[in-house]
Point group: C2
Chain length 156, copies 2
Amino acid sequence: MTRWLDADEQRAWLRLAGVMLKLSPALDSQLQRDSDLTHFDYLCLAMLSDTEGRTLPMSELASRTNASLSRLSHVVSKLERRRWVARIPSPESRRVTLVTLTEEGWDVLVKAAPGHVETVRELVFEGLPPEDVAALERVAGHIVERVEASRLRTTT
Amino acid sequence: MTRWLDADEQRAWLRLAGVMLKLSPALDSQLQRDSDLTHFDYLCLAMLSDTEGRTLPMSELASRTNASLSRLSHVVSKLERRRWVARIPSPESRRVTLVTLTEEGWDVLVKAAPGHVETVRELVFEGLPPEDVAALERVAGHIVERVEASRLRTTT
């Protein structure tokens, strides 16, 4: 027996599908046009810039950017060719690879950040009341947790 | 002066980025695996199935699937080669092209729907209280409207 969506869920679902179909390309196109970056490139640089020593293990960067290790590895190689990040062996374990943001990568991020943040503010937060900011965090967090839990179930 | 995101906005934003990065691939992979469809293919068939006569003008289907006309046109051609939809001239205006769902397309949708809806329910709505369903509709609707308004501003 399929449990179909009720009318409220259906409306909410179509809106969320709209966000996925429209917001991602809009963010990508501003970053591409102004900074030659995809939104995912930006997220990698931003997550590194935001940690002590601007360095993270690959697995931790994957988790903070919501990416699989294979997708991240592909993007890190691209960013490495541009000299914006570097892979370095972990001094603590041979099995761990670290990624570090270079000075050039930091400069790229600093230049890209104002335009990107303005776009996010304009497309998402402008006119959104504080209780809806909280609701967005709660609902989106719920969805991310459910997707992760389902991925764990199917891979084990 | 860049108006940076405050801590609440920053947290909400990272969660929403997570939804865009994780939910889309999860939906695509279930539909691809079980029905050989992308989520966007599915949305096109579903929007057509849901109208009187299972037929819509291209421009109206573009708006209901949150897509640009050029993206939609590409996908409609693919679905047409599979004989799931057909383009027909409008009896009312030569400048309008209609898309109609074929019987084969309807059958494909009817077979795909239960698995897709179960996935949406599992990844999004399971455990989400009714007030958060309403909040999701409200916040996602707000974002879609802002992206559309900004697109209008940049193209005019």
